[in-house]
Structure formats: structure tokens, C-alpha cells
């Protein structure tokens, strides 16, 4: 039971994290290889604050806000770069974050932050909190897709230049996607820090960024159910199978490549294809 609760918390956090990147990469079409930086910023911020005696809820919100603010700054810097350059820029942001955190004694340096205070909830209550937040983020994602903001994101992901031709302020929409996506990554970070109660630079490494991106791409870029499924699966598999944990970068990198190459729609795309074939096969 205890173990199940632990896994469900981990899954819930991963779902929030993957859905947060899905807003940026899936909805708005902007690749990011440095999403772990915002996850980390939220985690460090929330952990430092609860260690300073600030209530958990306030710390969680502050971590969310800080990550979102950093996201806007990175977004502003990235407005002029496209596609492959954006991948490199965001990867750079990820490394920059690690480089800075490693050298800051007040952030625990290489050792990280220990003994993060307990949020004062039972393990089960914490699980309920995480799962409720994950459900809210999923509901928000589904709602967003139906709004005119979602419609504008579709256009930007499809073709930025043409989006401008129909009057869409592409930079502002991109910044909004970055702000929302990175803020939610910060929320996931705060939840993670107060679950594990220890964070260090290694918790937010390049491998973590690739893992998050794998969840989005394998699940199916832009598909909420697909991304939730992939996030749940990819977060618990390494807990069960030791070799996955050891070869994470290789495995996820390989999976990422295979999906991009052979099934760009991810699992969601495959499921749609199979459903279509089943219907076609069932027809007289």
C-alpha cells in the first residue's frame, strides 16, 4: 500500500510535468530540451522557502511563479530563434541552470538541499493532493485546446508566418505558452521536493529534460490522454526495472528517435490509426 502510494505520487508529478511541456511543445509547437531547469527552479524555490519556515502552500505557489517568470525571460530570449536553434538554446538553459546551482553554496551546491520540511500531510493525503492537481492540469489542458488560444496555438505550431498573416501576435502567444508551461513545471518541482525531501543538481539534469520530452513525444505530441499514459508508464517503469533506470538516456533517446522516425503521432497517433483500420476492416 505504502509503495503504491509512493508510485502514484511519482506518477502524478510526472503527469503534471509532462503536460506542462505539452503546452509548449505539443500545443504551441516549440521544442524544449531544458524543461528540467524550470522543474528545478520551482523545486529549489519551494524547498528554500519551507526551510525558512514559510507555509507549504505559499512556497508551492512561489515556486510556480518563479519558474513561470524564468520561463518568460527564456521565452523572450528565444523569440528570434526557431526550431533546431530553439532546441539548442533551451538545452543551454538547462545546463546554465545546473551550472549556476552547482556553484551556489546557499542552494546547497553539489550536495543539494537536505531535510526539506514535511508539508504536514499524511502520505495518502499528499497523494490525493498531487493527483487532484494532476487532474486539474489535465482538465485545463483539455479546456485550453477548445479555446481560441488553443486555436491560435494550432496555427503557430503549423506555420508561424501564416499565423501572422491572420493577425496572430505570434511572440505574445509563444510567451504565454512558455509562461504557463514553465509555471506548471515549477509546480511539479515544488511537489517533488516535498515528496522526496531531498533535491540536488542531479535531480534536474539533461537526462530529466530528455525524459520529460520523451513522455510528450512517445505519448503523442499534443495529445492529453497520450501524454498522461506515457508519463505514467515512463515514470514507474524505471522503479520496477533496474536496467531502465541505468540506461535511461540511451533508452529514452532511442525511443524518442524511433517515434519521431516511424510514428510521429506517438502512441496517440498509433491508437487513432488502429481504430481507423479496425473501422475500415469491420466495414462490409
Amino acid at each position: 500500500m505504502e509503495y503504491t502510494v509512493t508510485l502514484l505520487i511519482l506518477m502524478g508529478i510526472s503527469i503534471i510535468l509532462a503536460l506542462s511541456l505539452n503546452l509548449i511543445t505539443g500545443y504551441c509547437g516549440q521544442i524544449s530540451l531544458g524543461h528540467a531547469a524550470f522543474y528545478g527552479a520551482g523545486a529549489y524555490c519551494a524547498a528554500m522557502m519551507t526551510k525558512a519556515g514559510i507555509p507549504f502552500g505559499v512556497a508551492l505557489l512561489a515556486g510556480t511563479a518563479l519558474a513561470g517568470a524564468l520561463g518568460v525571460i527564456v521565452g523572450l530570449a528565444s523569440l528570434r530563434v526557431r526550431h533546431d536553434f530553439l532546441a539548442i538554446t533551451t538545452m543551454g538553459v538547462g545546463f546554465l541552470f545546473l551550472g549556476v546551482v552547482r556553484k551556489q553554496d546557499w542552494l546547497g551546491g553539489e550536495m543539494g538541499i537536505f531535510a526539506i520540511p514535511d508539508p504536514g500531510l499524511s502520505k495518502t493525503a499528499y497523494m490525493v493532493l498531487v493527483l487532484v492537481l494532476a487532474a486539474l492540469v489535465a482538465a485545463f489542458s483539455l479546456y485550453l485546446k477548445r479555446t481560441w488560444m488553443g486555436f491560435a496555438f494550432d496555427a503557430i505550431a503549423d506555420d508561424e508566418d501564416t499565423a501572422r498573416m491572420v493577425g496572430i501576435d505570434v511572440p505574445r502567444y509563444k510567451l504565454t505558452a512558455f509562461a504557463m508551461g514553465t509555471a506548471l513545471a515549477g509546480l511539479a518541482g515544488g511537489l517533488y521536493a516535498h515528496d522526496i525531501k531531498y533535491i540536488g543538481p542531479d535531480s534536474f539534469s539533461f537526462i530529466e529534460s530528455i525524459t520529460i520530452l520523451s513522455m510528450v513525444v512517445i505519448g503523442g505530441i499534443g495529445s492529453v490522454p497520450g501524454v498522461i499514459f506515457a508519463a505514467a508508464a515512463l515514470s514507474v517503469l524505471p522503479q520496477w526495472l533496474q536496467f531502465i533506470a541505468e540506461y535511461k538516456l540511451l533508452l529514452y533517446g532511442g525511443l524518442l528517435f524511433a517515434v519521431m522516425r516511424f510514428s510521429p503521432g506517438g502512441l496517440a497517433g498509433m491508437a487513432r490509426g488502429m481504430a481507423a483500420r479496425a473501422r475500415a476492416g469491420g466495414a462490409p
Binding site: 481560441w148 486555436f151 496555427a155 505550431a157 508566418d161 498573416m165 493577425g167
Partner: protein, 255 residues
């Protein structure tokens, strides 16, 4: 008469290629102006300088007296420019009607936060269907742009531009990909829009239709102003004939 659009002394160079050199013309209220010239004359570049896709090294563009230089494409669109491009660029992830509905909802996408609190696309979709009927591709409303031939995509571009309710419509070769009968029908649609009060700049190689529907012509050659005036007067000019026969003889035959 007030000018809807003024292009003053515009020069555009791409690296070593001088695509436009000191080009000036204006579009008056309610006009249907033909912007002519042989291949490579700089017509598309002139349109891009107006819309803001390319930045002129010199000169200025004014919409109803308001200077557009320095404004991003989307700002100019919101000030009233609507355009259909020579190289069609539909949103391929959307259906035809969605392409147009997005433009019809320009007021809803004006700012991201406002857009977050707006759902429902019924009115815009209905308007989009009307416009698709108007341009003659209503039957393709639910198709994907990737399944459609050029003639349909050209008209999709026009419907999408119209959905913005522009003050000024810029059309770059909208008749391409249409057969004679379709071209004539669509040229009549363009005339109808113009009669309805819309000011239009038409770039088009189909000389027959241009001479039939345009009220005035501006001819560019080699990136420079060559001639402007009433259609028959312009076409009677030996320099215009030479430009067409010299570099685009096949186009001149269309007239």
C-alpha cells in the same frame, strides 16, 4: 480622393539583387488596381514590403496616412490589410473551413489572455462557410488542404483574407491554377467585392482578366516604376509592350 495606401520611394535589395528601386504608387479609395509586370519585376516583393514580410531599405508605406514602417505583419493585418499570397500557405493541420474560421475570429485572438476565456466557433465557422461559397469552393469546406489542387488553395487564401474584414485586399496571382471559365467567374467575384466598397490591389498574369476588371494599372519592370494609368492607355505604351514581349511574351498573349 484620399489614398487608402501609399507606397513612396520603396527600395528592397536581397543581397546583391535589387528587387525594387525607388518604387512609388498609390491605391485610391474603392479602386481595383492592377499591379503588373513581367516575371521577376518585383510585384511580389512590393506586396511583401506592404505587408511587412520584407523590410525596405528605403521608402515608406502608409495606410490611410498612417505610417506602417516598422510594424510587424500581424499589426498591419489588424490595421486592415488582408492578403492572399502567390505561394499558397494553408494551415495543413486544419480543415479548409477551420483555416478561414481562424481568420474570421481575429477579434477573439487579438490578445492571448482574452482568447483563453473564449470558446465556441459557431459564428466564425458559419461566416467561413459563407466566404468559401462566395469564392466558389464551398464543397471543399471539410477537406484537408493537402487533398486540394492549386486552384482551390488559391481561393482558400482569398477567403481567409476576406475573413479578416480588411480595408484593403492584396491579391497575388489569385487566378493561377484556374481554367478560363473558373478564372472569369472568380474575376467577377473580385469585381463584386470591389463594387461592395473594398479597395483591392491585384497582381495577376492573366492579362485578359486584368484588362477586363481593373480600373487602373501600375506596371513595374526590373524593380522600377515603368508606367501607370488607365488600362488601355498603359497597354498601348511601347515600353510596356517591350517589357512584356521581351521577358514574358507568353503572358502578353493572354490579352
Amino acid at each position: 480622393m484620399t489614398a487608402v495606401l501609399e507606397v513612396r520611394g520603396v527600395s528592397v535589395a536581397f543581397g546583391g539583387v535589387q528587387a525594387l528601386e525607388d518604387v512609388s504608387f498609390e491605391l485610391r479609395e474603392g479602386e481595383l488596381l492592377g499591379l503588373m509586370g513581367p516575371n521577376g519585376a518585383g510585384k511580389t516583393t512590393a506586396m511583401r514590403a506592404i505587408t511587412g514580410v520584407v523590410t525596405p531599405q528605403e521608402g515608406e508605406v502608409r495606410l490611410r496616412g498612417r505610417r506602417l514602417n516598422g510594424l510587424a505583419v500581424e499589426r498591419r493585418v489588424r490595421l486592415g490589410l488582408g492578403m492572399s499570397q502567390q505561394i499558397v500557405k494553408p494551415f495543413r493541420s486544419m480543415t479548409v473551413v477551420q483555416n478561414v474560421a481562424l481568420a474570421a475570429g481575429a477579434a477573439r485572438t487579438a490578445n492571448p489572455l482574452g482568447a483563453l476565456f473564449q470558446t465556441g466557433r459557431g459564428a466564425e465557422t458559419a461566416r467561413a462557410r459563407e466566404l468559401l461559397e462566395l469564392v466558389g469552393i464551398g464543397e471543399a469546406a471539410d477537406a484537408s488542404p493537402s487533398e486540394l489542387p492549386l486552384g482551390f488553395l488559391k481561393r482558400l487564401e482569398v477567403a481567409r483574407a476576406l475573413a479578416l474584414d480588411p480595408q484593403l485586399l492584396l491579391l497575388d496571382e489569385p487566378l493561377a491554377g484556374l481554367n478560363q471559365a473558373e478564372a472569369a467567374t472568380f474575376a467577377d467575384v473580385i469585381t463584386g467585392l470591389n463594387r461592395g466598397g473594398l479597395s483591392i490591389i491585384l497582381i495577376e498574369h492573366n492579362l485578359g482578366e486584368v484588362l477586363r476588371i481593373c480600373s487602373r494599372l501600375v506596371v513595374l519592370d526590373n524593380g522600377r516604376n515603368l508606367k501607370s494609368g488607365a488600362p488601355l492607355e498603359v497597354m498601348a505604351d511601347p515600353a510596356v509592350r517591350a517589357a512584356y514581349l521581351g521577358e514574358g511574351g507568353d503572358d502578353a498573349e493572354a490579352g
